[in-house]
């Protein structure tokens, strides 16, 4: 208590010394739960900037919202393929790395991501994987492969993510293809696989699948790592695995909007969250890994060694990023429409 009061007093003095304090605002449009309130409050305390943090429920609705322009936000928090779309739509600005003092804290493997080489438009921040989750009580042996999602044994107890790109990860990788293929023949094969799978499914669900697998309603679900962490904490029978075929990685980063009212505050925020101690706090409170490699050493051992949060290097190397494939998207879209219309 006293510590934080001292800190507040110190920052107040610092602010006074810096001259008349201007009320500064920073408006962020981001994922809920990935940026802890404590981190935002600390940032406000240190800089005197007031943060408004609005949240969205999917990349798709966020893009639709920003697409018209004039949203009034400074920073946005897109996943990798959404970064590509926002760049193409001219919604996010090229970054000035010299204004991000802590840029060097970003781990080397996140410096040159395929969706945004050289991090020109986005600073990656938290990351996780797309794999599968299962309930131990309804399977005989540990599950390690996408193949189980296509196994007759679990008929009526399987859920797939209700998201085209996510469903095709399993559909493509189970056939031995890359999750990012642009080859129409490979996409067609995956489409047939997904259509053949449909009678086995209880449904498509990207909403409450963690509850479904935790309650035993579902045996196996395709899943985002972050979504099942809570279920795993509550119920030791729930297991998350990145399948041997690879699975995929996702990154939610930050980008400055082209029409940001206060880009300076946005840069201050980026510099702040890339500090190791801030990143460690983020991981601890939100249970998601950040790109700040040095922060892992600051975490409690059980979290730092949690393989659902930090998969090993080999697994990461094996995983693909889901990207926006431009023209090839229409093969996916046609295929997915057929999958959804199949009986």
């Amino acid at each position: 208590m006293t510590k934080s009061n001292l800190f507040l007093a110190a920052s107040a003095i610092a602010l006074l010394a810096a001259g008349p304090a201007l009320a500064e605002d920073l408006r962020i449009y981001g994922w809920s739960g990935e940026m802890p309130d404590e981190v935002l409050a600390d940032f406000e305390g240190e800089t005197g900037i007031t943060v408004t943090f609005d949240t969205f429920d999917s990349n798709e609705s966020m893009i639709a919202k920003l697409d018209a322009g004039g949203s009034g936000y400074d920073l946005v928090n897109p996943s990798q393929y959404a970064v590509q779309i926002l760049i193409n739509r001219g919604r996010i600005a090229e970054l000035d790395h010299s204004k991000i003092e802590t840029y060097d804290n970003i781990g080397p493997s996140f410096r040159n991501v395929s969706y945004d080489p050289g991090n020109r438009y986005s600073i990656p921040y938290v990351w996780g994987t797309t794999g599968l989750a299962y309930n131990k009580t309804c399977v005989d042996a540990p599950i390690t492969s996408w193949k189980s999602l296509f196994d007759e044994k679990y008929k009526g107890r399987i859920y797939m993510l209700d998201n085209m790109l996510a469903a095709y990860i399993a559909g493509l990788q189970v056939n031995g293809f890359s999750a990012n293929t642009s080859d129409p023949a490979e996409i067609e094969k995956a489409t047939e696989t997904l259509i053949a799978q449909k009678p086995l499914l209880a449904g498509y669900n990207s909403t409450n699948f963690a509850d479904l697998v935790s309650s035993g309603e579902a045996c196996i679900v395709e899943s985002w790592s972050s979504s099942v962490l809570q279920a795993i904490k509550d119920n030791p029978d729930v297991v998350y695995v990145l399948p041997e075929e690879g699975g995929t990685m996702w990154i939610d980063g930050y980008s400055v909007l082209t029409d940001a009212p206060n880009p300076d505050a946005a840069y201050k925020f980026l510099s702040y969250i890339l500090r190791p101690e801030v990143a460690a706090k983020t991981t601890e409170l939100s249970q998601t890994a950040t790109v700040v490699t040095a922060s892992r050493a600051l975490l409690p051992a059980d979290l730092a060694n949690n393989s659902a949060v930090f998969p090993d290097e080999k697994t990461i190397a094996n995983a693909d990023f889901i990207l926006d494939l431009g023209d090839a998207m229409k093969f996916y879209q046609d295929g997915w429409t057929r999958v959804k219309a199949a009986q």
Partner: protein, 285 residues
């Protein structure tokens, strides 16, 4: 003459707010949607200026016809179920509940003050394999093994009726309350049986409410998307999902706009039928 003028000004003043609202925020945006439905797009979802009929041509694929058929079936079933359940409830609240009427109406709305997703989670708890209904039936010896109810059409219908029932009850209730009970009693005094009194007096007088309820349920049901996914497993593609998918996931705004215009035309016919029926009912008096 002056009276006529005054009445005209009054009518104008009463209509002005709705006309402004509709023109500015429905008609103009609708024109935008209509224009989009003839436009082109790039792979990243930008709407490009231009004129094409391809978006409408695409709609005649069997996939989209299936989508329309699925949605119609779901909406019609939901409407029928809601009216069958909702009418007696509205009747009871209007004529039998007495002082409890407002409380009952509000009670009906209480579910809506808890977020939609959480409400649906409750049905997952109730309908699930480990859920209360299965456990109860097994405890009573009615079942040996739990029945998978989630991911079925029945579960979708439960969710739909649950979501739309209050919207059914309200307009029927609003139409029933002003009915003069003395008319009904007069009918009974004249020797008409309860069924006859109901069919010849109460039901015709409450028809505007029934029609409104049918419209309130049928039309939004045509565009629903979350319930069939969360309870029914989302395996049957319907209009709501298709439109969300086209607008958000595929970023194919022109095709999404074309589907919307088609839905609008379809529902427009429904509304006109409703208006004609309502006009006839209003004219009966």
């Amino acid at each position: 003459m002056r009276r006529a003028l005054r009445e005209r000004i009054e009518t104008g003043a009463m209509l002005a707010p709705s006309v402004v609202l509709l023109t500015l925020f429905v008609l103009v945006p609708l024109c935008v949607v209509a224009a989009f439905s003839f436009a082109l797009r790039d792979p990243y979802g930008a709407v490009l200026p231009g004129f094409t009929l391809d978006n409408y041509r695409d709609l005649f694929q069997s996939v989209y016809l299936l989508v329309f058929a699925n949605s119609f079936k779901l909406a019609a079933t939901t409407t029928l179920l809601c009216l069958l359940v909702g009418y007696p409830v509205a009747y009871f609240i209007a004529f039998k509940a007495g002082r409890a009427a407002p409380a009952l109406l509000l009670l009906l709305l209480i579910p809506f003050w808890i977020n939609f997703l959480i409400r649906i989670s409750a049905w997952v708890v109730l309908l699930g394999r480990g859920g209360l209904i299965n456990q109860g039936a097994m405890a009573l010896g009615l079942l040996d093994t739990p029945v998978g109810m989630l991911g079925t059409y029945g579960a979708t219908l439960v969710g739909m009726v649950y979501a739309f029932l209050p919207i059914t009850v309200f307009p029927i209730y609003a139409a029933l309350t002003p009915i003069d009970r003395r008319l009904v009693e007069a009918g009974a005094d004249l020797g008409a049986g309860p069924a006859e009194t109901f069919l010849r007096i109460t039901l015709p007088l409450s028809l505007p409410g029934v029609l409104a309820a049918a419209l309130f349920v049928f039309v939004p049901s045509m565009g629903v998307f979350a319930i069939p996914v969360l309870l029914g497993g989302g395996k049957e593609i319907i209009l709501g999902n298709l439109i969300v998918q086209l607008f958000l996931e595929f970023r194919n705004i022109p095709l999404g706009a074309a589907v919307s215009i088609l839905l609008l035309a379809f529902s427009g016919v429904g509304i006109l039928l409703y208006m004609r029926a309502l006009g006839r009912v209003e004219a009966m008096k």
